[in-house]
C-alpha cells in the first residue's frame, strides 16, 4: 500500500515534468513567430511614423507607387504587389488542376508499380532547394520564352508562373492525396454499388468529400508561391518600375525586392525594405486566416 503511494507520487512528478517539457518546446515556436512579427513590423512601420530619425515616407505613396528608385528616394511597391499576385494567381490556375489530377491518379487509379515511381518523385520535388528551381528556370524556361516572346528578354511573369507552378505541385499533390485517402471507402462502395463507374465515383463522390482538404492544399500552395524568393529572383527580371502589361513583361515580386537589396541598404532605404516585408507578412497572415477557415471541420485539422 505504502509502496504504491510512493510510486503514484513518482509517476505524478514524471507526468508533470513531461508536461512542462512539452509546453516549453511549444513555446519556442510561439515566441519565434511573435519575435519575427514584432521585428518586421517594428522596423517596417518606422518610415510612416512622423519624426522618424531616418526620414519619413507617405504610406499612400508607398502602396500606390509604380517606381522603386532608392537613389532618388522613390519607394513605390504597387507594381510589385500586382506582380506577386499575378504570378501566384497564374501558378495556382495552372498548378492546381495538374496537382489534383496527379493526386487522383496516385490515390485512385495508378497501379502499384506506377505509384512506387510517382510518389518518391513528388517527395523529391518537394525537397529540391529552391535555387535549383531557379537555375532550371533560367537555363530552360527563360530561353524557351525568349523564343516566343515579343520582348528582348525571357525573364518575365510567364517564367515566374511556370517555375512557381512546378514548385507548388508537391504541396498540392501531397495534401490532396491525403485528403482523398481519408475519404471513407464506404462512399466509394455506395457509389459502385449503384452501378456508377470509377471516374463518376471520383468526380461526384470522392473529390467533393475531400473538398476542404483539397482547398487547404490550394491555400498552402498560394502561401508557398507568394513567399518564394530565390527561384523567382532568377527568372523574374526585377525591373525598377512599371506595372506588368502582358505575361511577357518582367516583374519584381515583393520577396525578391527584399532579397536583392537588403545586403547593402541602409537608412530609410533599409526601412523601406522592411516595410515591403510588412506587406508580405500581411498577405501571409491573410492566407493563414483563410486556411484556418477552410480546414474547419476537415480531416486535416
Amino acid at each position: 500500500m505504502e509502496n504504491n503511494m510512493k510510486l503514484d507520487k513518482k509517476n505524478e512528478l514524471k507526468e508533470k515534468l513531461a508536461h512542462y517539457l512539452f509546453l516549453f518546446n511549444a513555446t519556442v515556436a510561439i515566441i519565434s513567430v511573435a519575435a519575427i512579427a514584432f521585428f518586421v513590423f517594428y522596423r517596417g512601420l518606422q518610415p510612416f511614423i512622423p519624426g522618424n530619425a531616418e526620414g519619413n515616407y507617405s504610406l499612400i505613396d508607398f502602396l500606390s507607387g509604380l517606381e522603386w528608385r532608392p537613389s532618388i528616394g522613390k519607394f513605390g511597391i504597387l507594381y510589385m504587389i500586382v506582380g506577386s499576385l499575378l504570378a501566384t494567381f497564374g501558378a495556382i490556375i495552372l498548378g492546381v488542376p495538374v496537382g489534383i489530377l496527379t493526386a487522383v491518379f496516385i490515390a485512385e487509379l495508378a497501379p502499384k508499380w506506377a505509384k512506387t515511381i510517382i510518389k518518391p518523385a513528388v517527395e523529391m520535388l518537394a525537397g529540391i532547394p529552391s535555387v535549383l528551381y531557379g537555375l532550371f528556370g533560367l537555363g530552360v524556361i527563360v530561353p524557351w520564352i525568349m523564343q516566343i516572346s515579343p520582348q528582348a528578354q525571357g525573364q518575365s511573369l510567364l517564367a515566374v508562373i511556370f517555375v512557381l507552378m512546378i514548385m507548388i505541385l508537391p504541396t498540392v499533390i501531397t495534401i490532396t492525396e491525403s485528403a482523398i485517402n481519408s475519404v471513407p471507402d464506404a462512399y466509394r462502395e455506395g457509389s459502385y454499388g449503384l452501378g456508377a463507374t470509377k471516374l463518376y465515383t471520383i468526380f461526384k463522390v470522392v473529390l467533393p468529400a475531400a473538398r476542404s482538404g483539397i482547398l487547404a492544399g490550394v491555400v498552402l500552395g498560394i502561401g508557398r508561391a507568394i513567399g518564394e524568393t530565390m527561384a523567382v529572383m532568377l527568372v523574374a527580371g526585377n525591373p525598377i518600375a512599371g506595372l506588368p502589361n502582358s505575361i511577357f513583361s518582367p516583374i519584381r515580386p515583393l520577396t525578391t525586392n527584399i532579397a536583392m537589396e537588403m545586403s547593402y541598404a541602409f537608412g530609410l532605404h533599409q526601412e523601406m525594405l522592411f516595410a515591403t516585408g510588412v506587406v508580405l507578412f500581411v498577405f501571409i497572415i491573410l492566407i493563414n486566416l483563410i486556411l484556418s477557415r477552410v480546414t474547419r471541420g476537415s480531416v486535416l485539422k
Binding site: A186, Y187, E189, S191, Y192, G193, L194, G195, V205
Partner: protein, 250 residues
C-alpha cells in the same frame, strides 16, 4: 418458376485464403433469403460475389458460376449494368455527404438522367417505397448525414431503389439500428418483396425467422444447409445448423 440466381460450384479466394467453398444455391425471384452463420463464415463475402463488389479488392479470385436470369454475371454481363440490376445496402448506413435529394438522385444521374422533373419523380417515388418520404419530405435539401441512423439506412435503401434493381442485397442492414427502426426496415423488406428479390445477411435469428422465405446457414465458407425458413428453424437436417440456431454455437 425460373431461378433469379443460380450459383454453381462457387469458390472464392482472398489471395491464398479460400473464403467460399463450392457453394451451390438457387434463389427464386420475389423471395426473401436470409444468410446466417457465425462471424467470419463468409456471409458478406458471398453476398458481395453476387454484385461483384469483391472485384474491388486486390487478389480476389472467383471460380464457378453465378447466373442471374441464366446469364453468367462474371462473363456475360457488364459490371456497371450488373450493379444497377442488383442493389446493395450496407451494414453501416453510408449516405453520401450531400442532400437527401442528391443521394437518391445519384444513381439515376450516374446513368444519364438529367431532366429535373424526371429526377423529382424518381426521388419521391423511391423515398415513398423506402417508407421515409413522410419523414423527410420537408427537408429533402438537407444534408443526409444530419438524419438519424435509422433514417439514413432507409435513405440508402431509397437510393438503391432509385435505379430500379431486380435484386436487393442487404448486409446486416439493421445491426446499427434501434428496435423500432429495425422493424421499419423489416416491414419494408416484406413490402418490397412483392416486386423484387431480397437477400439479407443477419445475425438476428428472430429477424431471419420473421421475414425470410428461405434461410441459408454458412459455416467456415461452406453452405451447410439451405431450405425453407420454417424447416430450418423447426427441423434442421444438420446437427451444426441446429446447434447454431439454438445458440449452442459461435
Amino acid at each position: 418458376m425460373e431461378n433469379k440466381f443460380s450459383i454453381k460450384n462457387l469458390d472464392m479466394y482472398y489471395g491464398d485464403f479460400q473464403a467460399l467453398k463450392n457453394i451451390n444455391m438457387e434463389i427464386k425471384p420475389k423471395e426473401i433469403t436470409s444468410l446466417i452463420g457465425p462471424s467470419g463464415c463468409g456471409k458478406s463475402t458471398f453476398l458481395r460475389t453476387l454484385n461483384r463488389m469483391n472485384d474491388l479488392i486486390e487478389g480476389v479470385r472467383v471460380e464457378g458460376e453465378v447466373l442471374l436470369d441464366g446469364e453468367d454475371i462474371y462473363k456475360e454481363i457488364d459490371v456497371t449494368k450488373l450493379r444497377t440490376r442488383i442493389g446493395m445496402v450496407f451494414q453501416k448506413p453510408n449516405p453520401f455527404p450531400m442532400s437527401v435529394y442528391d443521394n437518391v438522385a445519384y444513381g439515376p444521374r450516374a446513368h444519364g438522367i438529367k431532366k429535373k422533373s424526371e429526377l423529382d419523380e424518381i426521388v419521391e417515388r423511391s423515398l415513398k417505397r423506402a417508407a421515409i418520404w413522410d419523414e423527410v419530405k420537408d427537408r429533402i435539401k438537407r444534408n443526409a448525414l444530419s438524419l438519424s441512423g435509422g433514417q439514413q439506412q432507409r435513405i440508402c435503401i431509397a437510393r438503391a431503389l432509385a435505379v430500379e434493381p431486380e435484386v436487393l442485397l442487404m448486409d446486416e442492414p439493421t445491426s446499427a439500428l434501434d428496435p423500432i427502426s429495425t422493424l421499419k426496415v423489416e416491414d419494408l423488406a416484406e413490402e418490397l418483396k412483392k416486386e423484387i428479390t431480397i437477400i439479407i445477411v443477419t445475425h438476428n435469428m428472430q429477424q431471419a425467422a420473421r421475414i425470410s422465405d428461405k434461410t441459408a446457414f454458412f459455416l467456415n465458407g461452406e453452405l451447410i444447409e439451405f431450405d425453407e425458413t420454417d424447416f430450418i428453424f423447426s427441423t434442421p437436417r444438420d446437427k451444426r445448423t441446429e446447434d447454431y440456431i439454438t445458440g449452442r454455437f459461435g
